[in-house]
């Protein structure tokens, strides 16, 4: 019953300079998937390619048996939505209007939605717990609040797949954990497939169904348990100063 997402023979990089070559991953949808790996290993490049922001060098990325990478923008926008690390600044816009950008793939030429669009927007706002911010000016929000608004926008876009590039990078501890919980809820209750990159490995191990690990220019998918049991995290760290402790599932300074 469960649908699949398939990455086959995908090569990503800038200007035909391959950063990750021949990626092959098949996995179930409706999962929370974290991509982890050290700086510069190609997490962002991969996510940019999967979201269609950066052209791929070769290969395909299939969701619901459609190759997302070759779809025109208007069709892709109904299957996939994107949240980046640092949201762009937009002035003179209320939180609600910002979230309503998520309805652009569905609204008329002037961008005016109908009642159903409005319901979707309000639901997305409620889901992200930002109802009390609805009429606030977007620019006056904190980074954590802005990131929630951006996630609400991607929920309003009503796509089966959401891609987020380091969504918790600039946030404090509580905000980070709340974003992880929100993403988990979205996959469990709202049947979304979520692929995101993160350096918060400990939280990812707790919250995610699957981890894509990038190491030595290769990417492989594991369940969190596999990663822990096979001691794979210590392999990628390659540092004498820190080790991953299996029993407490945390990193320890040496």
């Amino acid at each position: 019953m469960s649908k699949q997402i398939t990455i086959s023979n995908l090569t990503v990089g800038y200007n035909n300079d391959a950063l990750l070559s021949n990626i092959n991953i098949t996995t179930n949808s409706n999962q929370l998937i974290a991509i982890i790996g050290r700086n510069g290993t190609g997490k962002s490049t991969l996510l940019k390619t999967l979201s269609g922001t950066l052209p791929n060098i070769s290969g395909s990325f299939n969701v619901d048996n459609k190759n997302i990478l070759t779809l025109p923008e208007t069709k892709r926008a109904k299957l996939l939505s994107l949240v980046t690390t640092k949201p762009e600044s937009v002035n003179n816009i209320t939180v609600k209007d910002f979230v309503s950008f998520g309805r652009y793939p569905y609204t008329n030429w002037l961008g005016i939605g109908n009642k159903d669009d409005n319901t979707t927007i309000n639901e997305a706002i409620a889901l992200c717990n930002i109802t009390e911010l609805s009429n606030r000016d977007y620019q006056t929000l904190s980074d954590g609040e802005k990131q929630r608004v951006n996630i609400a926008r991607s929920i309003a876009q009503n796509t089966p797949l959401i891609i987020l590039d380091e969504p918790t990078a600039h946030l404090d501890l509580v905000n980070k954990i709340e974003i992880f919980k929100l993403l988990k809820t979205l996959t469990e209750i709202h049947n979304k497939t979520i692929i995101f990159s993160s350096h918060q490995i400990e939280y990812a191990l707790q919250a995610c169904n699957e981890i894509w690990l990038i190491n030595n220019q290769e990417i492989n998918n594991y369940t969190p348990t596999q990663l822990i049991e096979n001691n794979l995290l210590n392999e990628i760290i390659k540092s004498k100063d820190i080790i991953f402790d299996k029993t407490s599932k945390t990193f320890k300074l040496q």
Binding site: G52, E73, N91, N92, F101, Y104, W109
Partner: protein, 348 residues
């Protein structure tokens, strides 16, 4: 849009439209020759005037000039708004892509080139008028074509901006060289063109310019949805289903139509395109281009009519170049908003 915002929008539209009617009337009324207001109404709406010369002044000179001010104000302001959105840069204007320098090069080659053929622009008034228009259209179109061919190979829109500025500077240098080798009379004709002039426009030119500008304004309004999406940056705009390449080309093409044709007929008129979008955002407090575009157009008309009224120095025989007026209004305003906002990134 909330009902409250909706009513502010309608009140603004109404207020700006009423003031346009008043300023348009004043623009017709004030000038070096004193014509009673009743006579102007008579000339405009009934056939016969008390003096034939008054009829000629109003219909052949003041009316086309006022209409030119209306077209110019709306076109340059809307073009400026679109450039600020496209480049996410508060100081972008309609001329940022080198449209005016391209037009300038065309005109410089035409005016200075005539002297090599042993002709002078002073002798050939009507010929040189048409020649200036055509050469400036060719000049700005060539610059834009150059930019459009490069634009889709570039990933980052900021690169396009820098490229536009570079092309502009290179062309200005070329114009400098042409000026250096030209005679005083030619130089004066060229300098006159760079000062901007609404009065040289004729009724037959208006019959081409008006539909072009109206078309450009309508097209601008039609692309207000992708323009809104552009506010979030290109990656996000793409992710919500906007075809970035197509939108870029459309925005630049429409700007070229608006700013290019105005520059061809009236010369480069500065600062209107930069300040009016800011004023409109301050008044409406909105990001939404389907509201901003009509407000920007109306506001631009108001400001250019005021500039035109000032430029003809009511009560005197002399008149000032309109470009100087718009710069004198524009520059202090820009300085004021920069100081008020402290950070330039808060402006757009």
């Amino acid at each position: 849009m909330t009902p409250e915002k909706n009513s502010t929008f309608l009140i603004l539209i109404l207020a700006l439209s009423i003031s346009i009617v008043i300023l348009f009337g004043l623009d017709l009324f004030l000038g070096s020759v004193n014509i009673p207001f009743k006579e102007i109404i008579k000339i405009l709406f009934t056939e016969d005037a008390t003096k034939k010369s008054w009829e000629i002044i109003v219909l052949e000179s003041r009316l086309p000039k006022a209409i030119a001010a209306v077209l110019c104000g709306s076109a340059l302001s809307v073009a400026g708004l679109k450039m600020q959105t496209l480049f996410k840069n508060p100081l972008a204007g309609p001329y940022i892509l080198g449209i005016s320098s391209g037009a300038g090069l065309g005109v410089a080659i035409f005016i200075m080139g005539l002297s090599f053929l042993g002709l002078s622009t002073v002798d050939l008034n009507s010929f040189s008028n048409i020649g200036i228009v055509i050469s400036s259209i060719i000049g700005s179109t060539l610059v834009l074509l150059l930019l459009l061919t490069i634009i889709n190979r570039l990933k980052d829109i900021m690169t396009v901006l820098i490229l536009g500025v570079m092309i502009g500077s290179a062309i200005t240098a070329l114009i400098g060289i042409i000026q250096y080798f030209s005679y005083d009379t030619q130089l004066k004709s060229f300098i006159m063109w760079t000062m901007g002039d609404l009065s040289s426009i004729t009724n037959s030119q208006l019959s081409i310019l008006s539909p072009t500008i109206i078309l450009g304004l309508i097209l601008s309004f039609i692309i207000s949805k992708p323009l809104n999406a552009y506010l979030m940056g290109e990656s996000y705009a793409k992710s919500i289903g906007i075809n970035i390449k197509q939108t870029r080309v459309l925005i630049i093409l429409i700007t070229a139509i608006l700013a290019g044709s105005i520059t061809a007929y009236c010369g480069p008129i500065g600062f209107i395109g930069i300040i009016v979008p800011h004023l409109a955002r301050m008044l409406t407090k909105t990001y939404n281009h389907s509201i901003l575009i009509p407000i920007v157009a109306l506001l631009g008309i108001n400001i250019l009519l005021v500039a035109d009224i000032i430029s003809q120095l009511p009560g005197s025989e002399k008149s000032l170049p309109i470009n100087s007026i718009t710069s004198l209004i524009g520059i202090p305003f820009i300085v004021w908003i920069i100081l008020k906002n402290k950070k330039i990134s808060n402006l757009n």
